[in-house]
Amino acid sequence: MTILTRLEQWKDQGKISPEQYAHLAGLSRGEPLSLFLELNVLLYAGVLAFVAGLGWTVSTWSGQLGDVLVLTVLSTILAACFWYAFSRAPSWSVAETPAPSPVFDYVLYLVSLTWSLELGYIEERFHLLSGQWDLYLLATAGLFFFLAYRFDNRFVLSLGLSSLAGWFGLTVSHWSAHQDAAYRQYALLYCLLVGVGGAVLQRVGLKPHFFGTYLNIVANVLFWALLSGVFVRQGYGLWFLALLIACGASLAWGLVHRQFAFVAYAAVYVYVGVSSLFLRGVTDDIAIWGYFVASGVAMLVVLVQIGRRFGRPA
């Protein structure tokens, strides 16, 4: 029985109204067909291609064009986009706010990318903050967070989180010795800052729908950092314990909130961590292959049980 036949049956039985029937039957037939997603992809690709071309042109022709012209063009684009964003934006609200127009989010995206381009150009040509490149990233992250919260834009929030991660990375790169361990500590600090920040903002009700973005990024950075600690030759016990705790927390969070991405993170990261410990120093082929068979089947059994109890498609 097709969906259309079922809908007709439900209408005849009075389970859905004639209006609902007309609407749902239309949706099932693809009438009208929404091109919302396709047009958004086109806009995203357009902005990305434009900024990539802009960057390529600036880096190739900056000598011939001259600093004044390059900075004028970049600043004009920035100013025009800022004017558009501030003149069209609805009044600010702590709750989720729809974009005033379909192109609005992409204008903001253009602002963010052009800003990064212009900053890079200025530093490259004039070395205003010579040796303190990380301050640019911190300022950029600050601007992106402001734009993301002012205009309710996840794209720019992701850019902000990415810039902040870059700032942490560059800050630690000033230390030459023991970089790996230092990177790990800074990654944990980043996770702590972003995770707590995201949780606090959600708790106080400031754009609480952004919390998912924070959580996904924090989870992945945290797992990578912990795994890199598990991979070291000595002193990995604490990192392994932390990995187990983080995976347990991720699993619990995923099951309680029915966000199965976190269940998947927990399964994959804990498997990699445990496998790296089990196989450390093992050279016997039978033991290695046997481990993968046993562990793979064990993971399957556990995941099937989880799937049976919790994992129906949402």
Binding site: M1, T2, K15, S34, V41, L48, E123, S130, S158, T213
Partner: protein, 397 residues
């Protein structure tokens, strides 16, 4: 032919739509609970994340089991012996996939998918090892990719995995290389294969316009259109890629009539694909039409041997943005925001969900390619050389 009965798959589709509709507010919770009871399916499904993880761990288990078998029972087997065992593994994996569906009623569960994928891999490796490795070149070697293609098609028909169809298309690319050394003939043969498939799919899918198979056929048709385009576009061709990757050779030479014929074709195909997609109201075909139109714009200059300018991507970006804005405004000006059965409005919460996922993922990825690098030590150096990520740092400014 198909392992799942039509009513089960149709019920599952109905259930999925009900979940979407109640999320979008088109049905009340009470209605949903009432209708849900009438759409109980015996098929066992799971969500996308568990599906992916189950797929991964099944691959690990099957691969490791094969490795363990060789280590325990055959320490240094001959290629032919190993090939025979690969073929046995292929049979075992395929049988296990069928059992997983028939007995456990798994449907897009990851496990049966990985088993089916492993069976194709083992079949390919087994035929290659058992029949041809260590022997002089034989023209019958085409049987290996041919068997891969046929077996992948069978899996697509039996299980409905679209990526099995894609695998069959990829296997077909290798076939003409065994039959002729002429690159032009190879391109034409692959294009004829795909065009034949397109004709068959187009004729079959008219019978499934509004049922559960429509989306499957839509995806397959879109893949075939994309395949034809990629084979005929000599600047991007699928056929040249393996040679360029492994052989390190430059672009091959083609006869002028063939070369310019394909140039005409890459301009003709996008409007044809788009027209077909719009007429059929087929989302996947429309998407492929847009992709091939963009690829034509990108590859036109190399085709003509013209110099590529640094500002070309800017023009492309302006063009893409302009087209998107124009279509959206044109549709929005229609009565009720609808023209010819199309709308630019968001009708489903699913679209919003995908937008949120996309903005998080692409927001993280895109700055890497266009944002500035850390300052180099010498002021004379030009841009480039950064290694850290982030909104303000990338490797190639």
């Amino acid at each position: 032919m198909r392992l799942y009965c039509a009513s089960s798959e149709e019920t599952l589709r109905t259930r999925k739509l009900l979940t979407e509709w109640v999320g979008d507010g088109f049905l009340t919770k009470e209605q949903y609970q009432l209708l849900e009871k009438e759409t109980v399916s015996e098929l066992r499904t799971t969500n996308i994340f568990l599906r992916l993880v189950l797929f991964l761990f099944t691959l690990i288990s099957v691969g490791a089991a094969a490795g363990l078998f060789f280590v325990v029972f055959l320490s240094r087997p001959l290629e032919q012996t190993a090939g025979v065992f690969y073929l046995i593994f292929a049979g075992v994996c395929y049988a296990a996939a069928e059992v997983a569906v028939c007995q456990a009623r798994l449907y897009r569960y990851g496990i049966e998918e990985a088993l089916a994928v492993c069976s194709v891999g083992f079949l390919y490796a087994g035929m290659q090892s058992a029949l041809f490795i260590g022997r002089p070149y034989s023209p019958t070697q085409f049987l290996v990719p041919a068997a891969g293609a046929v077996f992948s098609l069978r899996i697509w028909r039996r299980f409905g995995f679209f990526y099995a169809f894609l695998a069959a298309m990829i296997f077909l690319i290798f076939l003409p290389g065994y039959w002729t050394s002429s690159l032009e003939a190879q391109h034409l043969i692959v294009a004829v294969f795909y065009a034949t498939g397109l004709g068959v799919v187009a004729s079959i899918r008219t019978r499934h316009r509004f049922d559960y198979l429509d989306e499957d056929y839509s995806l397959v048709e879109a893949l075939l259109w994309l395949g034809i385009y990629l084979v005929m576009n000599l600047q991007l061709s699928l056929l040249n890629l393996p040679a360029q990757w492994w052989g390190g050779t430059g672009a091959p030479e083609f006869g002028r009539p063939f070369y310019w014929g394909t140039w005409v074709l890459i301009w003709c195909l996008p409007p044809i694909v788009l027209a077909r997609g719009v007429r059929q109201k087929d989302r996947f075909v429309i998407a492929v039409g847009a992709i091939v139109a963009t690829l034509t714009l990108i590859s036109n200059k190399p085709y003509l041997g013209w110099h590529r300018n640094t500002w070309d991507p800017m023009l492309l970006g302006i063009w893409l943005t302009g087209i998107a804005v124009f279509i959206r405004r044109w549709l929005a000006r229609g009565p009720g925001g609808i023209r010819h059965g199309f709308t630019a409005a968001r009708l489903s919460g699913k679209d919003k969900h995908w937008m949120n996922v996309g903005s998080t993922v692409f927001g993280q990825l895109s700055p890497q390619s266009i944002t500035p690098a850390p300052q180099p030590s010498s002021p004379d150096l030009r841009f480039g050389g950064g290694q850290t990520g982030g909104g303000g740092a990338g490797g190639d400014f």
